[in-house]
């Protein structure tokens, strides 16, 4: 077989194609997991720890079991129970006195048990009839408190002595010498708080046993086959051998927080087993904030230094962050300083574990935090040196790696300087940087408002992954079905597959039927790391080419033609030898009773990894009230070969909006007296609305020669840093922490005076 390449001339790829499922979503025809209702379906709810740290002293389910409509109860202790279990005896056949009494709960929202009842109301009433005595235990919910009590004892799970874990350190070059030699040296502290994913479709599923050997779940997940497998393994661990099928036709956001069945998946499957009825279990908004993942905080004290010409010679950062009860925090010392080439580096980080919900991957894990830490410091350095921070950025970019230029010319290593330089130039033009940038605090004013502009850079991977199967089936009526088990977590994945297959077969993407989000279709990898398009688009290309070739092989002999003489153009197949041509349908009709099925797997050479990205924020700050108004965000983004320009632009705008929320509004607030999150809602856990959004200008820096690279994560990374730098540029003073709320802006302004 000839080497498979992306078509030289691309009719569809790289153009703006409306989502094939757009009308379904706009009209409500699209059924999300939360829309699924099954005959005889029960509703389940989870009882959660009211305390930040406690132990279950006693647990009495008798009244709840007798409550109207209650059909099944299962506890977390029971589903986790393995000690001393007999073969083939599920944990839930053991009494709660064995499985749950004495169990420790580590945060407000930690799961205790779930109840399934005929209605949601009955389930809720029953939850309130569960009688539990708790022994309250010491907790820590503030990072400063944990750092003060570094000696312990620990209040979080695990055997560590303290809540504070050393997260590693790294030294390169001679940071002390470089600090001494530096002509310009500045020190600052920068931080972002814990924020949550805020998926509009909350976590959860409907679980239905067709037989004791077969379970179907309609689950909102960003890893369809993996979720089915994990649930299958869990059930096997309890002696239930079965096949689990996972369906996720549409989903309302995941952002890294929906990679498996989760505890609610296990609970729902067991409840459905016990009740012998389908069970629906979706989290409520407060549960979503409390227990469905979050982005770790990060705080860094940075010393950055260099020469008057803007060369950064030293970057030193002492950092910490909290993953809640998790173990991995948001400062990844491997990627600090972020993006730039600095020779003398000293980084250390502490992981501060607290009694609140555990961190999970969240859209570009660790990157927004590290971008903020680095990019704010870079601007402060530029300001201290009296230089335009854009010029400082250009000066400190890493060079294109000479070895890579030779060996892997389309790799990010080979191109990084070129990409950033081009993107900074484009962003500068689109934002009128040269005209609008001014020394900090010295810009235009309108009454009490001061103008500011700021820039930040980012990077991401976005590689394709193997183990993605795409199937293309062509029938004699000309219809084409594209199948892949992968999921569309809002990114437009259906349309990606449709575009690639339609490109090869000369069809309109709208004419294809794309079936995704069903685990039994085949292999696919989770949508993490911006890998879905680069993982599935190459597979779709291979599958479409295989299907086309198979179609030619099957039909050509019936027409007395040779497959190699057939030329496919949009809706036209021509035989070079005879000059005869057919429409797509005419040609496919010759299949008769036969069908054609082409399979494709991911192969190397069609995708790539490593992207840059530049964002510029323009703001006005009301110096009397501390209110920040965002005027404009310019986002320049590469992702190798753009498949759907419309979806890409929309992804970038979405990433920017998420970054705006990190910059301006979001913060998990946990009360130190009660250990409870006080804002598990959308009232005081703030997210911007339309009135809070600026003009967002997106420029896709298309580099088709690089192959497909993921787009999901990078565009959210640098927005907060760019806004922070713009505010600093407006005021001449750094607001060190997000969200940039009036109180923080005023505090920075008043500290200056």
């Amino acid at each position: 077989m000839a080497e498979i390449k992306w078509p030289e001339k691309r009719r569809l790829i790289g153009t703006k194609v409306p989502r094939v499922d757009g009308p379904d979503k706009a009209t409500g025809r699209a059924r999300y997991s939360q829309d699924i209702n099954r005959p005889g379906m029960l509703h389940a709810l989870i009882l959660r720890s009211p305390y930040a740290h406690c132990r279950i002293k006693s647990l009495d389910l008798s009244e709840a079991q007798k409550a109207p409509g209650v059909r099944a109860i299962v506890t977390v202790g029971q589903i986790n129970y393995t000690a001393g279990k007999k073969e083939g005896m599920p944990g839930w056949e053991f009494p709660v006195s064995v499985t749950d009494v004495g169990r420790e709960l580590f945060y407000h929202g930690d799961e205790i048990l779930a109840i399934a009842a005929d209605t949601e109301e009955h389930a809720r009433d029953a939850l309130r009839l569960v009688k539990i005595e708790f022994e309250e235990l010491p907790f820590i919910v503030k990072e400063e408190t944990a750092l003060r009590r570094r000696q312990g004892p620990s209040t979080v799970p695990g055997k560590d002595a303290s809540n504070v874990l050393a997260g590693g350190s790294r030294t390169e070059g001679d940071p002390d010498g470089a600090k001494k030699a530096a002509e310009v040296l500045v020190r600052g502290t920068y931080g972002v708080p814990v924020i949550t994913h805020c998926c509009l479709e909350t976590h959860g599923l409907v679980a239905e046993w067709e037989s004791p050997r077969s379970l179907t779940i309609w689950c909102t997940t960003q890893a369809v086959p993996a979720t089915a497998n994990q649930l299958q393994n869990f059930l096997a661990g309890h002696g239930i051998t079965c096949n689990v099928r996972c369906i996720t036709h549409h989903m309302g956001g995941g952002y890294g927080s929906k990679f498996g069945p989760d505890i609610q998946g296990y609970l729902a499957a067991v409840l459905a087993w016990l009740a012998k009825a389908p069970v629906k279990l979706f989290l409520e908004r407060d549960e979503e904030h409390l227990a469905a993942g979050n982005r770790p905080s990060a705080t860094a004290t940075v010393t950055i230094g260099g020469s008057h010409d803007g060369t950064i010679t030293v970057f030193e950062a002492t950092t910490y962050g909290t993953p809640g009860v998790g173990r991995a925090a948001g400062v990844n010392i491997g990627i600090l300083p972020y993006v730039y080439d600095v020779r003398n580096v000293r980084i250390s980080t502490d992981i501060v574990r607290l009694n609140h919900g555990a961190a999970r991957a969240m859209r570009a894990p660790a990157h927004p935090q590290n971008c903020f830490i680095t990019e704010c410091a870079v601007d402060d350095f530029a300001n201290a040196a009296g230089l335009d921070p854009m010029e400082v950025r250009l000066k400190n970019l890493p060079q294109n790696d000479p070895a890579a230029v030779k060996n892997t010319p389309t790799s990010f290593l080979a191109l990084r300087n070129t990409i950033y330089t081009d993107e900074i130039r484009i962003a500068a033009e689109l934002s009128q940087w040269k005209k609008k940038w001014h020394p900090p605090g010295k810009g235009p004013t309108k009454g009490p408002w001061k103008h500011g502009i700021g820039m930040a850079l980012h990077t991401w991977g976005g590689a394709g992954r193997a183990d993605n199967d795409v199937f293309v089936t062509i029938s004699s009526d000309g219809s084409v079905v594209v199948q892949c088990s992968t999921q569309d977590l809002g990114t437009g994945e259906r349309t990606v597959l449709a575009i690639v297959v339609a490109e090869v077969l000369g069809l309109d993407p709208k004419d294809l039927t794309v079936v995704i989000g069903e685990s039994q279709i085949g292999r696919s990898t989770g949508s993490g790391g911006s890998t879905t398009a680069p993982g599935t688009a190459p597979a779709a290309l291979v599958a479409a080419i295989n299907a086309r070739d198979e179609l030619f092989r099957k039909v050509a002999p019936k027409l007395g033609m040779k497959p190699e003489n057939l030329v496919l153009e949009p809706n036209k197949i021509t035989d070079k030898a005879s000059g005869k041509s057919f429409t797509w349908r005419q040609f496919c009709a010759r299949l008769g009773m036969d069908t054609v099925r082409g399979q494709g797997n991911w192969i190397p050479g069609l995708s790539n990894l490593g992207v840059g990205g530049v964002q510029v924020a323009e703001v006005w700050v009301d110096t009397e009230t501390g209110v920040v108004r965002l005027e404009k965000i310019v986002a320049v983004q590469d992702c190798g070969m753009v498949i759907n320009k419309l979806a890409c632009e929309s992804q970038v705008a979405g990433g920017v909006i998420m970054g705006i929320n990190l910059a301006m509004f979001e913060e998990m607030i946990v009360d130190e007296q009660t250990g409870r999150m006080v804002n598990p809602d959308f009232e005081f856990y703030k997210l911007g609305g339309m009135l809070d959004m600026p003009e967002i200008i997106v420029h896709m820096h298309d580099m088709p020669e690089r192959g497909v690279i993921g787009i999901g994560e990078p565009p959210t990374i640098s927005t907060a840093a760019a806004i922070g730098n713009a505010i600093c540029n407006a005021l001449g003073v750094r607001v060190p922490r997000t969200p940039f709320s009036p109180d923080r802006v005023l505090a920075a302004l008043h500290a200056k005076k």
Binding site: P50, E121, R124, K446, G447, P448, W449, W620, D622, E624, T625, G626, V627, R629, F665, I669, D671, E672, Q673, T674, R676, V678, N679, E683, F684, K686, G688, G689, M690, L691, D692, S741, P742, D743, L746, A747, H750
Partner: protein, 339 residues
Amino acid sequence: MKNFTYYRPLSLEAAVALLDTRWGTTELLAGGTDLLDLQKEYIAQPDKVVSLTFIQDPVFTRIEVPQILPGTKPTVSIGAAVKIADIAEHAELKHLFPALTDAAAQVGGPQIRNMGTLGGNLCQRNRCWYFRDEHVLCLLKGGRRCFAADGENRYHAIFTKGHPCVIVHPSTLAPALIALGASVEVLGPNGKRTIELSKFFQAPTKPDQREHVLAPNEIVVRVLIPVEGLRNASYEVRHKQSYDWPLAQAAVAFRLIGGKATDVRIVLGHVAPTPHVATEAQKVVEGQTITRELAEKAGEAATAGAVPLSQNAYKVHLVKVAVKRALLLASGAQPDWVI
């Protein structure tokens, strides 16, 4: 939500007859934007819910603006069941009482404004996150302490002296209406009575108190606003522009005679357990020409007596700005803060 019996009386009198003489057992339902949340969170657990949405009485449901003739002292009547959106969009109200209509236009989001009513806005419960968390036994739920006093209090009161519970009153219509000299007509088992709106609110400290002085078996029928030719304005500082509570609000009204402001009212919102009348600031402005300097001085004076909590000293500063801007707006000055 706890089960309850639902009533939908057809007259105000019938509604009053359904009410209990103590708080907690019966709740009134109008737009539902507050009550439903309270019930879902088990903060309110009434046995009876009395819907007011089937009452057609025009006094209760309509805005009446009488003909305004020189020499008369007409009164505008706004029924308690009038939607906040209808107040915000009412052309004559906009002309007469921009303090009220501007405040109304910024309440919540469109859905809240289209459901929420004037009566509900005045009688809504506070938004304190400790009060609204069933598991926190605060003063208003029979506990022994106010958790906000030493806890997460960035959005709480700065006028805290004498207040064991440091909530802020959530209504933005109330400061405007108080500045405009409004009163409230209420109906109880013994008939109607009228309460000046400035005396309508109280700082609650225990479970059997609400944020207002109504008896448990009284209903707000309408709000009466005298048409006195006052210049008036409301200004609020918000973190978000969409769907958010103000961090601080100032509503002002005064008569301008010969360029001097008299009969000055300055009322602050979102800084105290009740709408807060800034008497010191009123004194600064009374009889004076409103200039930027005077407005600034009034802003300073408006913070007299403020004792902020650990996290909300910034609100003291915001009060100064809000008062200044509201005064300048009402005086007709070109606002330089609008971009």
